[in-house]
Each structure stands twice: as structure tokens, then as C-alpha cells.
Symmetry: C2
Amino acid sequence: MSDILVKDLFSDQHYAEDQAITLHGWVKTIRSSKKIGFIELNDGSTIRNAQIVMKASDLDNYAEIAKFPISSTIAVTGKVVYTPDAKQPLEVHADAVVLEGASDSDYPLQKKAHTYEYLRTIAHLRPRTNTFYAVFRIRSLAAFATHQYLQAHGFNYLNTPIITGSDAEGAGEMFRVTTLDMNNLPHTEDGKVDNSQDFFRKETNLTVSGQLEAEAFALALRKVYTFGPTFRAENSHTARHASEFWMIEPEMAFEDLDDDIVTIEALIKAVVTYVLDNAKDELAFLNDNVDDHLIERLEKTRDEKFARLTYTEAIKELENADQDFEVPVYWGLDLEAEHERYLCEHIYNKPVFLTDYPKEIKAFYMRANDDGKTVAAVDLLVPEIGELVGGSQREERRDVLAEKIKDNHMSEEEYGWYQDLRKYGETVHSGFGIGFERLVMYVTGMKNIRDVIPYPRTPGNADF
Amino acid sequence: MSDILVKDLFSDQHYAEDQAITLHGWVKTIRSSKKIGFIELNDGSTIRNAQIVMKASDLDNYAEIAKFPISSTIAVTGKVVYTPDAKQPLEVHADAVVLEGASDSDYPLQKKAHTYEYLRTIAHLRPRTNTFYAVFRIRSLAAFATHQYLQAHGFNYLNTPIITGSDAEGAGEMFRVTTLDMNNLPHTEDGKVDNSQDFFRKETNLTVSGQLEAEAFALALRKVYTFGPTFRAENSHTARHASEFWMIEPEMAFEDLDDDIVTIEALIKAVVTYVLDNAKDELAFLNDNVDDHLIERLEKTRDEKFARLTYTEAIKELENADQDFEVPVYWGLDLEAEHERYLCEHIYNKPVFLTDYPKEIKAFYMRANDDGKTVAAVDLLVPEIGELVGGSQREERRDVLAEKIKDNHMSEEEYGWYQDLRKYGETVHSGFGIGFERLVMYVTGMKNIRDVIPYPRTPGNADF
């Protein structure tokens, strides 16, 4: 007798009809008549359940089993019976069913549909539903595919700091980190809070990006990437924004904007391909229950070359659009989701790279183009999501960067180390950032970022 | 003519003697006489440098090249000449050397030894040294090996929240996260800070562990692991403690303490094996320059079974030790590094598992043993480091857990969701936590945690 997983049952492994096996798992459903009963058993190793067949004549405790509450933990010993002509390819005929942990009968996930809103309030239990099992399994596969692709292509994983003394790119509101006693704050002579008495002897915040710190490492290890949490203290309540989310930020020395775009496309395709290959059951479930174009969209993403045009060309396309936008289109506009989605959903029907954005709407570190108006930036827009990736060639020219820092009224002192990276050998380099949760939304078909994060943090919500 | 990497030069690939190649990289050293010169070129793709040979007769700008400052960015076009009898297996004979970015001559990493303390002040440049190149390359490999092993063994990667409303296991001081204006705090009627006006409508902190949240997912996806940053706001200045560090926290349903120990040993061995196989150049450098027992210790770790004894047996060993300890030994003592290191360095000379610790010195969630005195805990102690891993079988018994929560004066409300995990089907489960930086110290031979973190955070230090 050997302990096996439900996953093993559905693998190529064949179990002989007289081989006793033991499964441990949780009761998903149970139904029984006087003589025969059925348990759908899930053991977490796969989204699929094992069908347990129980005969009253075989089991001393048959009457008791029939009353096991949903979600109880049980051990089943029995034999595998293959049923190639039935809906389920196999059953387990039970010789013994032992209760290991009885669930209370008020278990919230009885077999009925629940709203996503309700399920968010039981984030500790929702991974037990098929939908969230699929989402979080795919999230894990997408993360691993990212590591696997980048490691195989010479990138070094880098952990940039979470607590930071600087404001990175001025990219939005930050969370303050402190150990000062809020009910008894120390003050300086001029009546302000004395940050020199804080843990780090100065004001510190949660990072919004590890890019600048990653650039330093790209100029030593050639190719690096971060994959860690970032934060925005914005009072934003959309389905695409969370206060805490994970970013993937590759940086590459000796690569320009064209190289950057090649890597973005290859990485996205690698992740999509890995999920298509390794999450067939989960994607089938999500395609049936969440988004019936999911698999088609992912296969298209895998198989077709992404479109590419400049921001200026995109503005022309949008000006000629056969629909009205809430926000009118003009050259210089920071595109809204409605514009981005129009381009990739209506015009191209696939992922679209936009390049060479007006410098005014992009960050200081992006490389100035020769036209004096645009920068060597790239965004990748994808159907259903909008912006998935943002990147650029970085400004490697010491004098140009210094001027930009001055023009943006940024602290010379704070960005001194960043300018050192140009002072000690100007090097062409590029990078990009992927919002990991948006990537997970793209590969699962989920429409709300709160439903692809195990325990989401949004304004007013930090439960669990 | 094709762009290649220095790494490619040292690979199995053979370059014909008339094949022109181009390399981009940084000048590590340069020396020249009137007729011939040599550049050690590093391009970040490997710790190894390419030896560039320049003849004055071949290069128009020879006189200029000889004056390139260290760390300048250059492009070299030339041909590969194999020199199997020389110290270097090959050279590149230059046909052209182009300056792409001149370094300032005050580049701090001139060819001389620097202290680790000094290098910490230039954390943005230190990865350009051989030592830190090796450390951060190995850090990346160790992280990937962790993901690869766990994914191949059915674990799902899980991102537990960084910002938390709870104190996890009461494991030490926490950092407060807030968006309140510290110079203008809102107050409640009784004069306290009004946390209901903070971003999350309550007090929030940076996580010290994702374990409890991971347990919830293990009871759905069977095997999960976190790998993310955790925080301790402790005013600790040792070489083994940082304020921000990364933890790997696997959790497994249907596994007991013995299973836990099997997985810990297999994972550590997998990481060590991967580093031995994939970082030969880096380990050779560290073995020569940092710790001359490094490779021997790692091979032993890979090849020999770890020792295992109970805490009670370990106390006996320590009481019989042939040395005095600063902190005297008695049953019930929370072992110090000196005791841990004595066990694994002097008695066993290899990694040692200690199990079944007194309940008073371990966390509330560890499963009570039948003796009434100990819990099903395990620590892995390793030479040079001390505690590397801490784990336990978790208390799955609803009534026992409830009593522990009460005894520890913990909030019933805050831990209600955690108790739900037992209420809806008690399930045997186990898990452990690895301090990732300690693992990196172990596989690199570095002795200070500040030297294995790209930009370390310690009390008073949050630069970059």
C-alpha cells in the first residue's frame, strides 16, 4: 500500500486493479443512496478531483461517511478502476474511508456560486474553489516561467531594496516606513518631526521601482532582473490598480531600444507558452467559466508577431478611429486605457508595441531622441488589459542626464550615485518593467487585479 | 563580423582564426609599452576577462588607447587566437579598439584591495569587483535553484502580503507603514493617533513572515512556498542580521515533521549542487580569496547525509563539551550561535538537524508533542552560520490551537481566519523557513550579511 496523489492517478502511471492505494484529501462533494455513495475528493495536487465510489456492503462505517460535512479531511484506501468510456477516466473503489478532520457544517464554500466580491472576504478559503485554484496555480507557473526564461538567457536575479530613502522616479505617492512612536513623536527645534531619530536616521519609504538600483548591477553583471513587490499609496479604486503589486524589471547593458523590444516579446511569449503547456486543466476551466476567448488569445499571443508602431503613428490611427473616446486624442496626450485597448483590440487584435513617446509624459531616465521631442520609450499594450509592459533605452549620456535631473528639479545629491553610473564609463543600456499581476490577469482571463493576488492590498483593505 | 560575449569565448564554441568578432565591455586593467599593449576586458557575461592584445603597428589610435582610464566602455574588433600552453587559454588580437564611454580617472575601484566596509559605501559600484560579481551571481543561481527544485516537486509559488495588519507570530519588532502626515497627525477624542484615517483604515506594518498566510494556501494547493522580503525593526548590529531580508517559506499539507526534514535536506542539497555545477569560476575565485574551505564544505553538504538529534540529546552533548560557553547550557535554553556552531562544526562537522524543542522557546503554531514539554520543531544548523532553517509540524488540532492562542493572550478576532483553517477540516501539515541571505552566506563563504545583499538595510543605513 502506498500513498499517492490524485495528480498521479491522472498521469501516465498505470495502477493495477489489485493494487491498494491511499489518498489523503478534502471532501468537495458527497452524495449517497442506501447502497452506494460517491465522494469527489480533492487533494490539492491538481485541480481535478478523484471520484471515490463507496459501496455500503464494503464499508463498516458507510452510514457515518454519508454524513461527512463538505471540506472534511479524509484518508481513502482503495483500488483504481479505469472507466475509459465514462466521463471520468477512472474511479477509486474504496475499501476504507477514514475521517481525519471533520469540517464544521457552516463551511462557506458549499456547492453553489459565490460572487468574487464575497470570496475576497474569505481570501484564506477562496483558493479551495476551482477558479482560484486555477488562478493561483497559473500565477505560480507564470512566475517560474519568467525566472526560467531570464536565467536561461544570461540574466541574474537581483533583489533591490524594498525600504528606500529615495523616491526612485517620482512615480507616485509612497508609503512612509517608520519606527517612531506615532503617539509620542520627537521634534526638531523648528517643530518638525525629527526624522534623524527614526530607525534609518532619515525618512524612508516603500519602493515604487527597483530600476535605478538594477541599472547599477546591469553595468556590472550585464543582464539583471528584479522580481519583487512594489508599492503605490494612491487612492485608486480601479480593477487594474493595487497598493502592493509585484514587478519584473530586467535591465541590460549594451542593448538599445530594438533589443529591448525583442526581449519583451520573447519573454511574454515564453510565459504564455509555458502556461499553455503546463496548465491545460486550469486554462480549460477558466476558458469554460471565466473568459471563453482566453485560450484563443493566448495561442495567438504565442504564435503571431506583435505589432509595432510609434506613438505618433498611433495618434494618427486614433484620430482616424471610427469611435469617440471619452478623452479626446491629440499629440502629447498620455494615453488612457480606452485608447490603448482600441489599438490592440480593435485595430490590431493582438499585442502592440508603441515607441517614441513625447518626452513630457515619460520619466527623466529615458533616452532623448534626436528629434528633441520624443524619448526612446516603449509600452506593450495587450487586449483586455491595456498597458502590460513599459520600458526604454536609458539615458546613458552623462551631460544629457545631468541636464534632465536639473530640469526636473531633482536632488543632485540623491542622484549622485546614479550619475556615477555614467561618470565611470557611459554604456548603452535598456530595460523594462512588467506589472506581474497584469500579466497574471492576461494569462488567466481574470478582470480584477484583486482576484489574482492572494491577499490584495487596496485603499482601506489590509486584511489577513 | 558578429557581436559575441566573453562568456562565449570560454565556451565550447570555436572561433576560426580569420573570423572577425566584436566585444563590448569595460576596461578592467590596461598596460602598454611602445609596441604592444594588453587590456583585460570584462563584459559582465562572466567573471572572466578577455585578454585583448594590441599592437601599435595595427592600430591608428594606439597612443590614445594606452591612456583609456580604467572602467571606460569600449568596443573591440579582432580575432581569437588560442593559446593552449599559456595561462590564459586564448587572446583577442585587436584590429580596432573604439572608446564608447571614457571613465573619469577618479574611478574608486582601481586595481588594489579595498575593505568590505569601504565597498559597502559604494554599493552601486562594488558588483564590478570580482568578489561581489561572484557573490551576486551565486545569489541569483541559488534563488533560481530554489524555485526550480520546489516547482519540480509540486510546490506553488505564493506571494504573501508585505503590508500586514497583523503581527504574524509576534516574532520581533515591526516597521510601521503609514500615509498619515507625520507633521499633522489626526487624533481621536482620547488624544491618540486616529489610525482609522490611515491609508488602510487601521495600523499596518511590514511583514515578519508569510507563514500563516501560506498555511491557508497549502490547505488548498497542497504544497506552496513564499520567497519574498521580510522585515525586523530590531536594533541589531551583528554580522548575521539585517532589517530587510528574503525568506523562503514552504508549507505542505499532509506532511509531518519527518517529511519536513526530508524536504529541507533535499532542498538545501539541490541548491548547493546547482551552485557547484553552475558557478565553478565564481566558487574557485571565492575559495582562493575569501574562504579556502568553501568548496570542500559545499561538496560535503551535497554528498553526506545531515546529522539529526533531538534538542534534549543536543543539550547533553553540549553539557559534555570540552569547551566553555559564554552562555551556560541547561535544558530550556534558547541556543546561542556559539552552541549551534559547536554542534555542527566541532561535533558533527556538517549540517545538523535539531528537533523537539521546549515549547516555551518556540512559536504558538508548532505542534505540541505528547510529552507535554516539547513541540515538533526542527532547526537546521550549519557550519560557519549556525541556524539556517527553522521549521515545524503545525498544530492542526483545533482545540489545542485555540488553547495556545488563549494562553499566549493573542487576539481571538485577529486569528479567527487562522483557526478557520482547522475548523473546516483539520489537516496534518508542516513547513519551514530559510533565511535566504544566510543560505547565500553559506554558499559563498561571505561572513557578513551586508555583503550578500545588493543594498543592505541595517539600523541607520538605507542608502541608495
